[in-house]
């Protein structure tokens, strides 16, 4: 072997390793770059959205950001389903460079205690009365509002009018017993009466059943109130529904996709207002909607106040600019709020005055849905957190799937919720 070539290979490796190391160190010191450009006087804001399913939403948010001239807004469209986006946001809030503006269903008590989010009373208070109280409840902690609602989501039961007529069902079910009876009547070898998810409806109806029984889960003065015979009875009705043979037990999609209903796998489906345009396109006029029925004549039907709300990180370097931007988007700009809510999917603008002006929501079944939301909408306080939800889900699963005694399961869940509540209140 030539000694010279061995030496030159050794030299090459030695110097290239040193170069790679120094290059890495330089890159680490250089910072992330980005920004600058001709608008360098404007504050730079990052704005995170989760990946909405409706076509056109990504382009829409980029358009809104471009339209805003008082800051340089960079939109981050975060992919993922289920809890992936909220988990990413919560993780980023722990770091030193979280997004300035981001959406979440609601702030949490721990985030407020840790000083991670900024109160927004100054921008919402002039129009506070224009929001439904149930929409504000999850956003208010210790008397301060930490998020501005961007859209209201709600779910209800869609049903096939033609199939109802054929089965001799003359009116929409008013009680859960009537719903069970309808589901059984509408089932045959090719179709089932009702689809509420592949888990027996536990995820879809976890809170709806309690509200339909006339109860709350956690009051605003932090009392746990779901341990009662009526709520136990409502979850037992879910067990009865599962055993009735009237449920579509499974589908290739979750309950929030309307495919089983559109494809005729079920005569009724629990699904969201967001699905109305596509159901209309598929079925024309052959469908109606009703809220989840009451447990009995002593209570009222129920729907949930869901949706997304805009929040501002306390670590933002431009908090005032971020507040101005959020105010422009979700308080002042009527056109954007209408466009965002009904231009791509179907949601209800959170401001009552704007919802009243939104043409698509003032007629037909959409108008009915808005009535359901205003009359029967419920929400939980932010003190009701993930750990409590998990405890309640386990309890309901035991009641529905293991025939466990409903009251004792609810008591066990309440004990766990109380332990969690004490941690939040401390």
């Amino acid at each position: 072997m030539a000694h010279g070539s061995t030496q030159s290979r050794r030299h090459f490796l030695r110097y290239s390793a040193s170069l790679a190391l120094s290059g890495g160190l330089l890159a680490a010191c250089a910072g992330t770059g980005g920004g600058g450009g001709s608008n360098s006087d404007l504050p730079a804001l990052t704005h995170w959205y989760h990946q909405y399913g409706e076509k056109g939403t990504h382009e829409a948010v980029q358009r809104y950001a471009k339209q805003y001239t008082k800051a340089k807004v960079t939109v981050n469209w975060v992919p993922g389903t289920g809890n992936e986006y909220p988990d990413k946001v919560r993780t980023s809030l722990l770091g030193s460079n979280p997004p300035d503006v981001f959406e979440l269903p609601n702030p949490t008590v721990d985030q407020v205690k840790a000083g991670l989010v900024v109160p927004l009373d100054d921008i919402i208070s002039p129009v506070l009365n224009d929001f439904n109280e149930n929409a504000l409840k999850p956003l208010r902690i210790n008397g301060k509002i930490y998020a501005i609602k961007m859209l209201n989501d709600m779910s209800m039961v869609y049903y096939r009018k033609g199939l109802f007529q054929k089965a001799g069902i003359e009116k929409e079910p008013q009680t859960i017993d009537e719903l069970i009876s309808a589901a059984k009547k509408l089932s045959n070898k090719d179709m089932k009466g009702l689809y509420i998810g592949s888990d027996g409806g536990i995820d879809a109806l976890l809170y709806i059943l309690g509200w339909a029984a006339g109860s709350e889960f956690l009051t605003e003065d932090n009392k746990i109130t779901f341990v009662n015979e009526r709520v136990a009875g409502a979850y037992e009705k879910l067990r009865e529904l599962n055993a009735s043979g009237g449920l579509l037990p499974d589908a290739p999609v979750f309950w929030w996709s309307s495919e089983p209903f559109k494809q005729g796998m079920c005569a009724m489906q629990w699904c969201g207002l967001w699905a109305m345009p596509e159901i209309q396109a598929a079925l024309g006029d052959d469908f109606g909607v009703f809220p989840f029925p009451a447990l009995d004549a002593q209570s009222k039907p129920a729907v949930g106040f869901g949706g997304w709300a805009e929040m501002i990180s306390a670590k933002s370097k431009h908090i005032d600019a971020a507040k101005e931007y959020v105010k422009w988007l979700w308080i002042d700009n009527t056109d954007i709020q209408i466009d965002w809510n009904v231009g791509y999917g179907f949601h209800v603008p959170p401001r009552k005055s704007i919802a009243a002006k939104t043409d698509k929501l003032t007629k037909g079944l959409a108008a009915k849905a808005v009535e359901f939301l205003n009359a029967y909408g419920h929400s939980n306080t932010p003190y009701w957190d993930n750990a409590m939800q998990l405890a309640l889900t386990d309890a309901v699963s035991n009641i529905v799937k293991h025939n466990a005694d409903a009251m004792s399961e609810l008591k066990k869940a309440a004990d766990k919720c109380d332990k969690e509540l004490q941690k939040l209140l401390s």
């Binding site: 030695r14 390793a17 040193s18 790679a20 190391l21 890495g24 289920g82 809890n83 988990d87 919560r90 993780t91 809030l93 722990l94 949490t108 721990d110 985030q111 205690k113 840790a114 991670l116 998810g197 592949s198 888990d199 027996g200 409806g201 536990i202 995820d203 976890l206 579509l248 037990p249 499974d250 589908a251 290739p252 999609v253 979750f254 796998m265 957190d385 993930n386 750990a387 998990l390 405890a391 889900t393 386990d394 309901v396 699963s397 035991n398 799937k401 293991h402 066990k412 766990k416 332990k419 969690e420 941690k423």
Partner: protein, 320 residues
């Protein structure tokens, strides 16, 4: 000390020797620098992404840390106590023990069987090795979704129910019904499909290490080809490979998350939850990092305990 006969100057190193010593020192410094230039990035990565998180996790497990990753107070053993008294966590420990009980022996026996078959194939051995190894490259999430929504879908259009329909049997709710708990079949089969190939390859490597002469000698001594040679030659020779596979299998079973999370989603999670699923809810859902870290430590201790126990019982690393 210089002797009277030797001038002190003669004892000093000569210029040449000093020069040589300097060259040796320079060369030694260069060698050290080169060593660190190659090893430092790895060490830095290990420290930053491995050791620091472990130590930080231990610190958090004894602290209050809700929605923050810096401790806000000292919790002592409270997090550990809360978890060990939490029925949701303790029942998840039972879940993963049952899962390990199913998956470990099944994977071991199926991988060994497959390795024996593939290794004895007279043709296209490479093809079969690749085909069985391919699922290892598939994402656990993707496979779980295919298993849940296509193969073990609860409607009569799912593949498994379509096969049952051919025999005039009613569709089965494979995932959402606990009576009987068919979800175990779904979870075990998806994991088998995903990991059999990897263990098969390890077994094949072990089989190919066995000297041919042992079999020849056995045949000369009258042993019958088949069960006798398998039991008295193959199995003992595969001892270390088998122990390594059992070890890897147990650790993988205790860390099971992806297929459980994706298959037992929504309200079905309450039917079957592994400790990692519960800790995911605690740490990332409730943002209670103190409690989550305590749970991670408990899991680590359990895995280390079973690993050491298994190694001890099976004599891992002991020479033949």
């Amino acid at each position: 000390m210089s002797s009277p006969e030797t001038p002190a100057a003669a004892l000093m190193p000569s210029i040449g020797e000093r020069e040589s010593a300097r060259r040796v020192r320079r060369s030694s410094i260069k060698t050290t620098l080169i060593f660190w230039s190659f090893v430092a990035p790895l060490m830095l990565g290990l420290i930053l992404f491995f050791f620091v998180p472990i130590i930080w996790s231990i610190v958090l497990s004894f602290s209050e840390a809700r929605a923050v990753i810096l401790p806000t107070g000292f919790a002592g053993l409270r997090n550990y106590r809360d978890l060990l008294q939490d029925q949701q966590f303790t029942s998840s420990l039972l879940t993963f023990t049952i899962f390990a009980f199913f998956i470990v022996p099944t994977t071991f026996l199926c991988a060994l069987g497959l390795a024996l078959l593939v290794n004895s194939a007279k043709f296209a051995q490479g093809f079969f090795r690749s085909v069985f190894f391919l699922p290892t490259a598939c994402s656990y999430v993707l496979a779980s979704i295919v298993w849940k929504m296509s193969i073990f879908n609860g409607t009569r259009y799912g593949l498994a129910n379509a096969i049952l329909h051919l025999f005039n049997l009613d569709p089965v709710q494979w995932i959402s019904s606990p009576n009987p708990p068919w979800y175990w079949l779904v979870l075990v089969t998806v994991r088998l499909w995903l990991q059999l190939g990897m263990y098969m390859i390890i077994f094949i490597a072990g089989l190919q290490e066995i000297p041919r002469e042992l079999y020849e000698a056995a045949l000369v001594d009258g042993a019958k080809r088949g069960w006798q040679t398998f039991w008295y030659i193959t199995v003992p020779q595969l001892r270390n490979t088998s122990i390594a596979i059992l070890l890897l299998n147990i650790i993988a079973a205790y860390q099971a998350f992806d297929e459980f999370w994706n298959i037992m989603s929504g309200g079905n999670q309450s039917l079957l939850r592994t400790p990692l699923m519960y800790l995911y809810n605690v740490a990332l859902g409730s943002q209670d990092y103190g409690l989550g870290s305590a749970g991670a430590m408990i899991l680590t201790i359990i895995i280390i305990f079973f690993t050491l126990l298994q190694g001890r019982l099976l004599g891992f690393g002991r020479s033949n």
